[in-house]
Symmetry: C2
Subunit: 381 residues, 2 copies
Amino acid sequence: MRILILGGDGYLGWPTAMYLSNRGHEILVVDNYLRRNLCRDIDVEPLFSTPNLFERARVWKEKTGKEIQVKIGDCCDYSFLKQVFQEFLPDTLIHYAEQPSAPFSMLNHNAALLTLTNNLQTTLNVAWAVKECVPNCHIIKLGTMGEYGTPNIDIEEGWIEIEHKGRKDRFLFPRQASSLYHTTKIQDTDLLWFYVRTWNIRVTDLMQGPVYGLSTDETELDDKLATFFNYDELFGTVVNRFIVQAVCGYPLTVYGKGGQTRGYLNIKDTLACIELAVINPSKPGEMRIFNQITETFSVNELAEKIFRVGKERGHNISIKRVENPRVELEEHYYNPKYTGLKKLGLKPHYLTDDVLHGIFEKVEKYKESINEHMIFKGIKW
Amino acid sequence: MRILILGGDGYLGWPTAMYLSNRGHEILVVDNYLRRNLCRDIDVEPLFSTPNLFERARVWKEKTGKEIQVKIGDCCDYSFLKQVFQEFLPDTLIHYAEQPSAPFSMLNHNAALLTLTNNLQTTLNVAWAVKECVPNCHIIKLGTMGEYGTPNIDIEEGWIEIEHKGRKDRFLFPRQASSLYHTTKIQDTDLLWFYVRTWNIRVTDLMQGPVYGLSTDETELDDKLATFFNYDELFGTVVNRFIVQAVCGYPLTVYGKGGQTRGYLNIKDTLACIELAVINPSKPGEMRIFNQITETFSVNELAEKIFRVGKERGHNISIKRVENPRVELEEHYYNPKYTGLKKLGLKPHYLTDDVLHGIFEKVEKYKESINEHMIFKGIKW
């Protein structure tokens, strides 16, 4: 299949490109290096540097003989995006091209505006480019479990039937997020669901939880094929960040009571989920939604796991409770359903001690590169 | 009270400014003439021309001795908007500054992008300007009944308690709109509800139905104080448009089966509702939602009413069914609740024959100005 990956330079974008290239698909990645630039501008550089996309693609070709095409440009620029679609004519589009940090979106007005504008314009442009150039193209959009927030009812996979005063209808599951970033993902869902109904385009919306890990079969082929690994408060996801903190002797910072429960998944499972969506596309006029997580943990449970495995590896670790800088519930009901992707064939990699040891081992190699000043920035909302 | 009106040049914005000025409030109107420019660019000019805002304010002062302050600028420009807030320090903000046409938002990619960007940036900027300059300012935001779409359950006023698998929670009422414009209003609601929860700002969100009429007590003081009156497919609301069609002998164009039912209200009631929201503000951290309509009609019912009254006035009228250019249900359940504003004291002006005669009389004065080419543009989605 011809697969266009927007945001193909990112933490998940680049591993996805290699994974699908390895499985025989024809891949074009597009990126404008927004994430790289933001990390540099705000001084939250990743644990190790990674080559630019052209170099990554050259190394990939050397190692595997397979080609990944690269185009650098901004998906907010519709004339650029439309030309990419017209030339490549994708069967499948994977849309990662968003500003992905919740704390960044809460920094100040400029960051909020950038997040809103970038995320919604790319999504609008994607819908239009599909409609105008390749109406049958299957859009796979990364959403987030954070769209649902922490409701006091079970979280279904995207949809809910509501019975009210003796009548019934089916609706998008209620969404109520706890950052502007997550709110823009709700707005993405609003936008795509509107165009699905109106134009009969095909969309799969993947409500993903925080991803952890840094190795996939493909990144292991060469150090230069590694993915970004942020460990800061803005762009680092919690498991990755805690492991770096454990390795460098920085206390594991639990916000408030630590009862915040979320669904998590291994980066290898993200790739498997994306592939399952690619090979099992939604139908025209269908907005298919999966909850893309494999298990749930509270922050306390995560901290304790990482504390225990870190101790076994001889690290000097402590857990420190800090005042919660966010507006969120610290104790809440959380019961999401996530059976759809397993029904399609997903075999999860759980967050076992072995998996944690594997991430620790990788991070320890870069221990000298850890910059403690990047870990905590004190962003509040 | 010090009241800042964004979009103060519009069909509702200008009458609101005069109405509240007349009641002793201190008024500043802001506009960038987006609506005027779009109407000129697309060749859908209103039935009669209206002076610019400075001239309107001068005439208002001559007639009443009261002052309406005017600032011209774009609310998408945060430095402009923030300065306006810092200088005027409003107690209440009325936010009309949005691209208001559903068909316009479906015209092409540029129009879609303009609608999305304008509507969401202004709303984001409003939330930030309030937070940074006047955190206690009450935001009154015009939403639309179109956000709800036509669900198969009763439409509550903004919120619904959902019982699901033995547990309960309260959520925003499900929203599912039938144009991009209406979808941006859903996204506005997402955005404001997020910032209300996060910053404890005060918001009243008014889910308004299509408004009809062109006279208020204040517009009657002088022809130069009249409001815009669009009668085209893009910016004209259905009752106003049908009356113009009746007056000029253009068939009343009913889309499809004509069973599309919506809630409507008189422009005089819009002003009364706004005033009720102004003098009964929501509390900090409260997102209060009212359904701002006074009665519901199907398109067939509207066409028949206007047909009958127009006949009485000697017009040569016909009703013509045309293929529905929109993606919408032509027959559906529709049972919205709209008691909140009545409880605050609203005394509705219903769409009686007298009211219709009044609008006909006004429109007949401009019969020679009606440009039939503006009525139908054949916009499809």
